[in-house]
Symmetry: D2
Subunit: 297 residues, 4 copies
């Protein structure tokens, strides 16, 4: 499967209209624009897409809309992790039915310390057995409070229906511990923009990034510079990426990303409550930062 | 409302049968036994009840079953917090329809740092406005990763439909900061068993406890000793409570609590995946601890 | 030794004069005032005493001054923990020579994760063997980043020259885990003011408190209320203590404590750099808080 | 000053003899071997050098020994941070007298939350004013519990006697926030081996590394590959570095590093108590890891 997963995926935002409803027209417009940048595909229903705030119907509609609008040959990954094993399986089935090529399964995190490595092994294996599409393990400790240990990832990598992982920890030694011992065809995608260049140096196959909603062309260029072993270009893009990554992540949140996207002409709207739009101080910093790096061009 | 919320509430476990389905027969049996211990009421669909692993239908059935089985005069609180404001409102409406007297609204925690005090204020006020039943704010940082600041709780306490809070932080200064400045009729319930006596000394009105599934009589006795200002009795019960609280909380988890309940004759079953049953080492410690304190009697 | 360690000890502040030098005249004046409140003794060279900012000579002078000024029958404990085992032993010898009755040995914390339970066992045993005075183990995770596990404390409690512990974690289950299994003559002192009443309920023998610099009479009264099993009095004092404990601990720091002491007529001065005096906002809150609880009387 | 600080510095270990005393013969032998690898200089009395476990006399002797043995043109940096401002100044004076070219001043960390940005500004400025040699700010949150905010570093960078910083956080966005806005001649050295390549991509001038005790040639080669913009070589060395960095840092500690050095023929000895030698499990992993990467060659 590695050819369909190697490259850059935006963790696409979910646009809502003025009434707070899913705006498939805006979504379609964004996808058509993204389609021109050389992306490997899309990840829908990810945390950047406010998936925990969507209904099951909205998730299905979202997946279908991406499927219809993306280019042929692109890969559609859907976030399908839930707190319960049974509901995670159900989400994989639904995503498959609506056109997803793979499920990205975030570790269940509500119960924190109770989600032991053994619980993770059982959960992911049960999901992998039952899911009609291949799945990727998703390590996102900042949101879940749970780190999937590298040894657990490597044990799961042996399952034929677990084809890769996304790691958003930004923890270099973690990523490296997985990459060093993984089977050759187990795909590793990073979800951390500030360490993207380091992830590529370490051998990551690609990335699923919030920032790729905003600057897909820069993310794709970093991947290409890596493949071309072009040091000067990778360094240039790495330095360009850093300030942008800082203001469309962390405490700036999804409101900040959506504001930045609006500035660059995307149809992004506002986040859904309880998430707030970017504050005035945040929008000012975002605007200054984009201007500093020469965006929009 | 304070008379209907002052006292001990178990955060009731949800029994599942051998097929993993909600077992209302077991639930009914447990409630009938709990009914004899002087509890103030029940909290259904709480984290101890594995609410994040239940479907909406199961939650409704659970609430209805408790409502039908509890004694007249008891209060039924239902966990109604969700990640989105809209779904939280919907959960309050559903709980009310099924018989809940109040909604216990855990802070949305998936997005962690994005859930600012301002986001919390807007969320809880929107929920309070729309909910057909009064709500309690629920601070549970260990699971949500979000602390609702005391100043936010106090601001929310002014809303007529926000009648109290549950605090499971176990943080004495936090609880005290709320109690010192709260309106007289704003109810404060602790959710932390090891610090129960301290919470009572600080002026808490009652408690919502996982351990009250197992030893409701000891929890109720601690509340009564406090009301009677009986130091020796409170100290005796406090010391009795400590080892029990340690093995039915923390890393022992819901699997540990359910195992301990089974040992004492409750119909508790096993947790739902990905939660695991207690390990052999855990069950041995639980059995030894109960024996040490003379349970079952 | 338990009779000489049961009760309240202030973790005494170290006054500096306008030139930043140790002010033994101010110290003597403070001790003479403290002497009238029924304290069990004093702890010199503790973190509240800014020990990490003192020279060895200053520490010796401080210990000698307390020794000369305290009442007969009082106990003098000196902070003697250092990062190296050898220097900790040397500090115990020096403290003994200058009149200390016991050494309070904080866990070495600079190297954090390298200070394993095994390292702690070897360190404390080597110190206990070589020290000419008995020692107390000191658990202070907020400053050291190291928690001495209860099992390690209990293993150390078997050593004849390790006579007790001070626990400043404020963690109720931790304190309780030690108290439940400790030898009868192993003394447990709490160092956490907000949870003082709970520590007494759990069976702590006494306390070493920063706040006892400021309100020794209230701390002593809480100890006496516990011994008298006087619930109403303990509860009254607990509620009185809470707001005071909050503004002379935590982020208010030693500058805040010294300011509060000055307001109540002690000769406290300012902290030594890099510690800062309380900010204007902090002093305002401190003044308001003392006024709220009716201090000075 | 940037030419004398750009490149690789080992944070040199301090060898002790069988009696636990400073072993200057071993130290001299190690330096003579290190001298041949193209290092920019040495950092003595750093945390890797167990500085918190050394006496003032030992520190002086250590600095003098390095000074006498290093090659002409090399730079000698000495760790001179202490908890008090006054003692830090005294340490800078002593280091200068004994031959240090610059002082590396770790943030005072014992009092954690009390070490505010304002306290850090005053502390570093007072030290910079009084120190007879230039100083570098040292951010090491894992050991101190204090993060020096980028804005504080940038404010300090304006002082003529504060010539640079070492950052051991391993936090890419932190490093980048400093590098993007720093004055051109303000030197930034990373202290985090796993992220060395990323630090170079971000524009770091060099590194102070524990792992450079063991594999100075690989560290120097990574610096040179960066200067030569040789992508393939940097990537090869980055992958080689990762497993080594993992077993000579983190929980393996100084005992692990010293063991690995002994395996490669350095005269390293054992750490000083309370630090422990590497455990049997750790030495086995270290040996396997070195063998995996073909060391010794």
């Amino acid at each position: 499967m590695s050819h369909i997963l190697s490259g850059i995926f935006p963790a696409i935002i979910t646009p809502f209209n003025a009434e707070g409803q899913l705006d498939t027209i805006a979504l379609t417009a964004n996808i058509k624009r993204w389609n021109q940048y050389g992306l490997r595909g899309y990840v829908a229903c990810c945390s950047t897409g406010e998936a925990p705030l969507l209904t099951d119907d909205e998730r299905a509609q979202l997946i279908r809309t991406v499927k219809q609008t993306m280019l042929e040959g692109m890969t559609l990954i859907a976030g399908t992790g839930r707190e319960s094993t049974a509901q995670t399986i159900e989400a994989c089935r639904s995503a498959a039915k609506n056109g997803a090529d793979a499920g990205l399964v975030i570790a269940p995190g509500f119960f924190k310390t109770l989600i032991t490595p053994e619980a993770l092994l059982k959960h992911y294996r049960a999901v992998a057995e039952a899911a009609p599409i291949p799945i990727l393990v998703y390590n996102m400790p900042a949101f879940t409070g749970v780190t999937i240990p590298p040894a657990t990832v490597l044990a799961l990598a042996e399952h034929p229906n677990i084809i890769g992982m996304k790691d958003s920890s930004g923890n270099g030694p973690y990523l490296n511990a997985v990459i060093r011992r993984k089977p050759a065809d187990f795909i590793v995608l990073t979800g951390n923009a500030p360490t993207l260049a380091q992830a590529f140096l370490s051998g990551a196959d690609g990335a699923v990034l919030a920032v790729a909603n905003l600057i897909p062309e820069i993310c794709v260029a970093m991947h290409r510079a890596t493949q071309a072993q072009n040091f000067a270009e990778l360094q240039r893009l790495h330095k360009l990426m850093q300030p942008i990554a800082q203001v469309v992540g962390g405490s700036y949140g999804i409101g900040g990303l959506k504001h930045a996207m609006t500035l660059l002409g995307y149809d992004a709207g506002l986040p859904r409550p309880p998430l707030l739009p970017a504050t005035a101080a945040q929008t000012a910093t975002i605007e200054q930062t984009l201007q500093d790096v020469g965006l929009p061009r």
